[in-house]
């Protein structure tokens, strides 16, 4: 089943085509990677899906329903959550409150707050942060701030999670832990769509990879196929 699909998605910033006519889809239960050199349009695509940006060209569907034109909070409540390339946490709030806000607002109204609080604790433990519950999020290390973001996104009970460069700036041990986390998220029944620059990680966890270059999709396939794709190799290594 296609949980997310886009047809002819384009986005222009002034004269610059950040995305031109991109078709893509994500199936339920998959981990799909989105890669490409800097400026390829990866984050723009995520921003369009999560409605941080809007476009009139192209259609994006989530669970078969058109979501282009909706507001970010509506998309979140439909079950599509995301993290950000540069962390956007609630810095002065404790880590637990960050997650609690996700579980309080991210799902259709009427969730009892006690239930939300319990869910938040469980998720903080899931990402391995139960020791830092009361620490203001801004005092956490980068890797832990990213974990808070993941827990906060998971708290909204998503069916699809967009992870934007979860592993950027992490050391090898942390990258390994992050890869494990991504797999564990999928094991909870959540489809994952990731942007990543760390090749080892992306090749290791993804079922399928989409490659963007200058706003266009140049390849799509299993990690193996992508690694052997001439166009991709050219883009990354030069001819």
């Amino acid at each position: 089943m296609r949980i997310l699909e886009g047809e002819g998605v384009s986005k222009h910033f002034g004269g610059l085509a950040a995305l031109s006519n991109v078709d893509f889809h994500v199936d339920a239960g998959e981990i799909v990677g989105l890669i490409g050199p800097n400026g390829a349009g990866k984050t723009t695509l995520f921003n369009l899906v999560s409605a941080a940006l809007t476009t009139k060209q192209g259609v994006i569907k989530f669970k078969g329903r058109k979501i282009t034109g909706l507001k970010p909070h509506q998309i979140c409540r439909m079950g599509l959550a995301r993290t950000f390339q540069s962390v956007k946490i609630f810095g002065n709030m404790p880590a637990l409150t960050n997650v609690y806000i996700g579980s309080l607002f991210g799902i259709p109204a009427g969730t009892p707050s006690a239930y939300a609080a319990k869910g938040a604790e469980e998720l903080l433990e899931f990402v391995g942060l139960s020791a830092s519950k009361v620490t203001p999020a801004k005092d956490l290390t980068l890797v832990n701030q990213k974990r808070v973001e993941v827990a906060r996104a998971l708290a909204t009970k998503p069916e699809l999670l967009l992870l934007d460069e979860l592993m950027a700036g992490l050391n090898p041990t942390e990258v390994a832990q992050a890869m494990e986390l991504v797999t564990k998220i999928r094991d909870r029944g959540i489809t994952v769509f990731v942007i990543e620059h760390v090749m080892k990680a992306i090749m290791g966890v993804c079922d399928r990879i989409i490659v963007l270059h200058h706003g266009e999709k140049i390849a799509e396939g299993t990690p193996q196929e992508i690694a052997n794709n001439r166009a991709v190799v050219e883009v990354y290594l030069g001819e």
Partner: protein, 317 residues
């Protein structure tokens, strides 16, 4: 644990104390008349303005300078309707009209961030002031108008009721899910939106709610002034004072803006009567010192001394 501290921090003790203060204040005009009642009225008014400002701007970080606009709308409501309707109704209408203005302005401008929002809201005060002025001069051939007379006691009780309503609203917003949404908007609006918070709705409604009390207090205080004109009603001072008072008191707790407004209004009046020429100068110096040495305001300072005091006592025993 220290026995004094445990009594002071006890919840039912605090509630009891608040009830006693409220009863004392409410019965004050019955056995006491004079200038001090008027003074208290001024303090109430500034507490209302400051706490209302903090309800919206304190948590979201959107610095609104529109207080004077909402205040003035309340004042003009009173001037226009004061002799036609009972005063309680007039105050209610003043509150609602101000709130509607805030709702419209909010819906149009809350996409502006930071300094742009501050400038726009300040521009709003001037815009309404000059529109009213133009209207009065060109359409009605007059400037300013008289406001109906209301007894001091009535003004006092109405203002006290507005004050209680403002404080209760601020308290419950702070403790609620809604307050958490406001705070997260202040921390990071984009993330808040992606967490399922309808940020536009939360901001606009809170802005409108905070204007209710500002409009109401304008409507009642106008009756004390007997004559108003656009310059008096839309005085930008009522936009800046709440901001300064909130900073002076500290915004971390609800008590901060309250104490800030009380101390500031008192100081303003004392200095204004004792040193009429130097008062602005002294005032400025106090403010600078406060900002430099009390980053969390008066309440932050008291808290720090309080904690230090206990440490010393603990060390002694």
């Amino acid at each position: 644990m220290n026995s004094v501290a445990s009594i002071v921090l006890n919840r039912s003790f605090q509630l009891g104390l608040l009830a006693v203060i409220l009863i004392a204040l409410a019965t004050l005009p019955l056995h006491y008349q004079g200038y001090n009642i008027v003074r208290l009225l001024n303090i109430f008014m500034f507490v209302v303005l400051t706490v209302s400002w903090v309800i919206f701007s304190g948590s979201t970080g959107y610095m609104s300078l529109a207080s004077a606009a909402f205040f003035g709308v309340g004042i003009y409501t009173s001037a226009l309707l004061g002799d036609k309707l009972p005063i309680a109704v007039v105050v209610g209408i003043g509150a609602l009209v101000s709130s509607c203005v805030a709702f419209l302005v909010g819906a149009l401008t809350l996409r502006l961030r930071g300094i742009y929002f501050a400038i726009f809201t300040f521009g709003l005060v001037e815009l309404i002031k000059h529109l009213t002025l133009w209207w009065e001069i060109n359409m009605e051939d007059r400037r300013g108008r008289l406001v109906v007379y209301v007894e001091n006691d009535i003004i006092f009780w109405v203002m006290l009721s507005i004050l209680v309503a403002t404080l209760l609203t601020a308290y419950f917003i702070r403790r609620s899910k809604w307050g958490l949404a406001l705070q997260s908007i202040g921390e990071n609006e984009e993330a808040a939106a992606h967490m399922g918070i309808n940020v536009t709705l939360v901001k606009v409604i809170t802005f409108a709610v905070s204007a209710l009390f500002v409009g109401a207090s304008g409507a009642i205080i106008a009756t004390r002034w007997t004559y108003i004109d656009p310059g008096i009603a839309f005085n930008p001072l009522y936009s800046f004072m709440p901001v300064l008072m909130a900073i002076f008191g500290g915004m971390g707790r609800l008590l901060g803006p309250v104490i800030g407004a009380i101390a500031f209004t008192y100081l303003k009046e004392e200095l204004g009567t004792e040193f009429p020429e130097l008062y602005m100068l002294i005032f400025g110096i106090i403010l600078i010192v406060a900002i430099l040495y009390m980053p969390n305001g008066l309440v932050g300072l008291i808290q720090r001394l309080w904690i230090r005091g206990f440490r010393r006592q603990d060390a002694d025993t």
